[in-house]
Symmetry: C2
Subunit: 435 residues, 2 copies
């Protein structure tokens, strides 16, 4: 009665190696849960003789990934090699060969997911990617199944551990961006080329997937408005703190009356909100749903073991469903003919509250001049502060927060502010989220 | 191709009525997700003409619950009537009639679940109870599926909203227990007879279910060590605050080398921990798993809509799986022949850190005497404070926290303390959790 599920791996680095470790260590528990055995039969790697984090004695190593996706013995292919070119070709070929696919590759799903989903539906195979978003957190399952009776209103996440580590350390240790980034690279929390994390691309990949699962829309990575954290200074963090906020790099997907907002940017979050207290490399996703209300899922967003936890959960789903031959849960959580290409809202249509910061000549009347610009655009200022300049400096730092308003108005105000003779340099804009 | 799932309700109060409302409001979304329609065909109620929170025009109302469980047209029975006697008989009869069962009744599952699970397995029907634990939070699904590749080490939850509301308000508003309880009753957050919530019985029901799902053990409500919050005073909360802790009513299930701890009691939680910041009626469950690491699930623990969210999720699971005729996920998350009757650890074998508080004569040498009792039992004191008594009072309040140690030693120390002539009255013990 015990069935055997045979697995082939594409890639045996952190994610693939972690998966082998969890499968081996917890094989008894997995059999107790599924009544089945899951066995890795082969893994494709770039260098056969490289050092590994896992034991490779129990399966075949090959440097030919095509041999994995063509192997008739293999039921499930785990793609953990990364990238969107070779990985795409291999996944498509595996699907054509009738294999179920599990991947941790957020870029692949975000950028080429629509094609892959279509192929998987046509081939009647499962395509699972719990590990692609927020590591060990079961957010894909909660959106596709746990909240399936809800209309999802918004999903707001800290979904890039590296960025959250940097912002947390800047605030806790009162250090600047460059110093913390260098330290994060030394500790292995940030890549040598940190741009995917720091520029928000990784978070935008994950947000693309979350939005699709929340609202039943196609994957539209190219439509995500994305700002990184590279411009956030210690002064921003200090001024936000004085207003009662912490700065977090958020991914935000929100269903509004006019469409869907998809945006990734640094954001002021009230200090008392749970998301403001998600620190270091941890991830969290905050979901607002019409029946369940507000829920939060928190956990490790990356790392060999948490990512493997999600891959193995997907494997167990495949094992549990394989016997029936029916795919019960649609790939994007909605029936494939019910995916709706919702309007994605342009930046010019965003609405939010805003934090603005600028340097201005320390002379009488400057605050009045600034205030009148906002009043003329019908934007209410919630609070404004002016810091006395240090001795010998003749510009003062002025920070303000607005009430909820149209971004277009705030951008117009910034144009006017920057043309004032008293304001020097650019005006910094950071959005504020209230939940 | 659209299939119709026909539902019968036992009870149409907060939970049943909320379920009808969510099914009606979100019927389009549910069809988009499942490709099927879910229709309530009949509901059994005590009083046909009572006021309802939902529209009852689209289905039959009856005062004969047996007619629901015997109705050959009905696929799924939702038990939302409460209690463990009539509800048990009706659920067993529905199972015998081949109906799938969804229930929000934690008492029923915790107290009679082993019999019901056995019957459901034999009849090959689904038995789902996401709504029985932590309202709209998908913790049952996360334990049975999302973390299925893990060995669960512990699960610690704030799983009774009423108790959390009372403790939160006592701390925030510096009020005493009786006053806050009376207010909670007036606001509808606490029942007229609050004993299920205040005494910890409701939390113990939920902990029973969580432990079974986490460790693959039978439901053993009768073995849960349970303390309520009725003895917690404002002074306890204030002293805990000075040591850096908040007091939360926790359910704790922990797999140790010698067995499983199952306990519900007031607990000191470090202020910086996320669980210490779960306030008011909100619930949260903190899970420590070997691969995923620490994860937290947070959300509304009760109320018509959050509870309905979980019931409808279970309905969608039934709808999605019904076509295959195969039950993919076992009821308790482990194969039915793999449920293991783990040893439940007795209070005498508990180990923890402890907060103790006592009144002692304000005379020299009393701290030395107290300290020597702990030293003689090899228990390390982490911190100790003595409050000067107000004028005219000659006993001082002494509070201390111990390091992690055996509860048996601490109970022995309390016996010795209470026999000291300088100590008046009982010594208060509250356990401390570090995560």
């Amino acid at each position: 009665m015990t069935e055997l599920i045979k697995v082939g791996l594409l890639g045996l680095g952190t994610v693939g190696g972690g998966t082998v470790n969890v499968l081996q260590r917890n094989s008894a528990e997995i059999s107790r849960r599924t009544g089945q055995s899951i066995q890795v039969v082969a893994a494709a790697v770039r260098e056969i003789n490289a050092d590994r984090i896992c034991d490779t004695n129990l399966f075949e190593l090959t440097d030919d990934p095509v041999s994995i996706v063509d192997n008739p013995e293999i039921d499930v292919v785990i793609e953990s090699m990364g990238g969107t070119e070779l990985a795409f070709d291999l996944v498509m070929r595996a699907i054509a060969n009738g294999k179920h696919i599990i991947t941790a590759n957020k870029a692949l799903i975000a950028v080429r997911g629509n094609e892959i989903v279509k192929a998987a539906v046509e081939a009647n195979v499962m395509l699972a990617f719990e590990a692609a978003v927020a590591g060990g957190i079961s957010v894909v399952k909660v959106l596709r199944e746990g909240l399936a009776g809800n209309q999802i209103k918004s999903i707001v996440g800290i979904i890039n551990g590296t960025g959250n580590y940097i912002l947390t350390a800047m605030g806790d240790e009162q250090r600047d961006f460059a110093g913390v980034l260098a330290e994060a690279q030394a500790l292995g929390y940030a890549e040598a080329d940190p741009s995917f994390d720091v520029d928000g691309v990784d978070a935008a990949h994950k947000l693309t997937i979350l939005a699709s699962l929340s609202f039943g829309m196609p994957l539209h990575f190219e439509r995500v408005y994305t700002e990184g954290i590279g411009e956030i200074t210690l002064t921003d963090i200090q001024m936000a703190d004085e207003f009662g906020y912490r700065i977090k790099h958020l991914g935000i997907a929100r269903h509004t009356e006019t469409g869907v907002e998809l945006r990734v940017h640094p954001t002021l979050v009230p200090k008392t909100h749970l998301l403001a207290n998600v620190n270091g490399v941890m991830n969290a996703v905050y979901i607002d749903a019409d029946a369940a209300g507000s829920t939060l899922l928190y956990g490790a967003g990356a790392g060999a073991e948490p990512t493997a936890s999600s891959i193995v959960a997907d494997l167990i789903d495949v094992a549990r469903h394989k016997q029936s031959g029916l795919i019960n849960v649609p790939i994007l959580g909605f029936q494939n003919d019910q995916i709706d290409d919702l309007q994605v809202i342009a930046q010019s249509e965003f609405a939010s509250a805003y934090f603005l910061r600028m340097e201005a000549t320390d002379q009488p009347g400057v605050l009045a001049e600034i205030s009148s610009i906002f009043a003329g655009l019908d934007v209410s200022i919630e609070a404004i502060t002016q810091k006395e300049p240090p001795a010998g400096v003749n510009t003062a730092a002025i920070s303000l927060i607005t009430q909820f308003t149209d971004e277009a108005k705030v951008l117009k105000a910034i144009g006017k502010l920057e043309s004032l003779s008293q304001v020097s340099g650019a005006v910094k804009l950071i959005r504020i989220e209230h939940f």
